[in-house]
Symmetry: C3
Subunit: 257 residues, 3 copies
């Protein structure tokens, strides 16, 4: 990166705990994963192998190595965890992540509504052996939690051992923290940010309008997730004020006038 | 594929006659076609070189070989057939497919409204020399067939020699069997499935919501088409119940409870 | 390209001054840029490295060489120019383009509303050292120019030295010459085409419906911009009447009947 322009916001270097970007890989080939890393590794912290794709993507073991070698942390989408749990296969899940030397685990209940106590217990157990992030929010449109319920769940999961909580939006960006049309649920997001702590939350934000909104409201180093691999450079441009949507965001007042 | 989870639906292995997936290639480079095959060949049956792209994509002859070598069957989008026919160049079309050793031919009338008799005659002639699939439904919003007309056309074309009929939706998924907003035309689809036979139809389903709908209603092995190359792994995940939308679809009742 | 079908519209060969296609690269890797060129170089005239992505894309200097070697002209998105100008760094901008041997420069005011006189002065200065294209139209929804204002600005900029003017639409295709839903602003486009001259304008048209509209109204050789790299072959198919939307466009009347 050419440090040629002043007034760009500071971005922490890796490994970082804020300003995180989680990218979703839905089935890239090995060469596509290399391509993604060749431009995006510096800007990407976590790579989620989306939902159950790991079980059916040829060469996914090699792909894990590509991501690790490039300095990114790969992990399995929470739906894979849930697919094991609903089959009463917690032990097999742990064997599976151990076999693939996975150090980051997402624990979610977006598809399978386990009890909160079961989820917390899973977080406690897994967090003793590695890093846990947990996801809050249902993938279903007809299950709506109140802002207070979101906050309570998130705080409980952080206490149980999650290092970050993820606010659900799906790949489409139309459930959870967003309305049907992809616009943000402002009240909900304010409640979460004030009560859970901005540094503790990764907001799923697959749409550019959502990414721009979070950067404008919470700054360049808001944690964002469910970014498409080919949107990593556009997102970093947004974070730095190098795109129309956030062009004025980080400039001193005398330049804006 | 790691066969680690029970209760995944059975998928027939290739070559198969149900559970088919047709992917649309709109102009991939040779290396991109290799990438697609490296993860998707097991899950892809047919690769359509969309509309007239074959005539203008550099190296498309090499690309045909890549697909064949990987065990997939490439063919030309029906619009290419129609572009020859409207110019009264049926013989040149046959020469063109022979020259490129194409064994699967799509015969359609989505852009050029030929008479049904002309279409059936084309199906009869071409099916004597290779495999024919034919597409029913107009690409134009102002041409609407009744469910009965769809059924009659499809049955006639199967009798004339088509091995499958394709239900038109375009790349956008907003015409034919879908409404303007991409939602399914339920009555039409029921009429077709009951009267034409589910195994005989390939449903164009470019949008994830459409793919999920067909899998939920007709099972893992419904034939689907117009899938984008980078959606082949996500689609296979949907077929297997490894994604939120179809998560409960194939589980025994005692696990769902 | 196999010249097998008659009645395809003529397309000028490169370098051309009409029928131009400008593609937007938002952060391709080197290998992806090679892939894009391997199928698209013949159909692509200009490659815009979108907004400020040039400053943060690893290996972008090498990428410039890939595009030049393949016979395409790379340039930096206008937002990069504006990011320098708002910081009072015009000289540094010139140094930056000189360092990277950039021969085509986009001058725009879509994010930073400089005075028209400042913009014209920039066009005059830069056009003495290379080729300038300038963009008209704000990226913001709440800034709306009258058709007369569009025409006046475009004519002034052409007089000041721009070889083409670009009509703004953003990557989303929902501002400037388009309405919120992506449909065209017919009156505005007619005013521009009649008074500025069709050959002088590059219309940003990221959506297929927009591309088809321009080709149907202004012919195969209308200048179009903000095309995604993987849409270059589909767009060329539209230009040639090899896709449903423009299937009848270039056929003689006796074949249409």
């Amino acid at each position: 990166m050419e440090k040629i322009l002043p007034f760009l916001p500071d971005r922490p270097s890796k490994p970082r705990t804020t300003g995180l970007t989680m990218v979703m890989d839905k089935g890239l080939s090995l060469r596509e994963a290399e391509d993604f890393m060749s431009v995006g590794s510096e800007y990407t912290d976590f790579v989620k192998l989306g939902f159950g794709t790991s079980l059916i993507t040829p060469g996914f073991g090699e792909k894990l190595k590509i991501y690790k070698k490039a300095g990114c942390i790969p992990y399995f989408g929470g739906t894979l965890f849930e697919a094991f749990i609903i089959r009463n296969m917690f032990k097999e899940f742990v064997d599976f992540i151990d076999k693939h030397e996975i150090t980051l685990v997402e624990i979610s209940d977006g598809s399978y509504e386990m009890s909160q106590e079961t989820k917390l217990e899973c977080i406690r157990i897994i967090s003793r052996r590695g890093t846990v992030i947990s996801e809050v929010g249902s993938k279903k449109k007809d299950i709506v939690y109140s802002p207070g319920e979101w906050v309570t769940m998130m705080k409980s999961e952080l206490e149980a051992g999650s290092v970050k909580v993820i606010a659900e939006a799906r790949e489409s960006g139309t459930v959870g923290i967003y309305n049907d049309d992809g616009s943000v649920n402002l009240l909900l997001i304010q409640e979460i940010s004030e009560n859970v702590g901005l540094e503790n939350v990764i907001w799923e934000a697959p749409l550019k309008s959502q990414q721009a909104w979070f950067i404008k409201h919470f700054g360049a180093n808001v944690n964002l997730g469910n970014i498409a691999p080919n949107e990593i450079i556009p997102l970093e441009s947004l974070r730095l004020g190098l795109r129309g949507d956030t062009f004025f965001q980080f400039l001193p007042d005398n330049l804006k006038a």
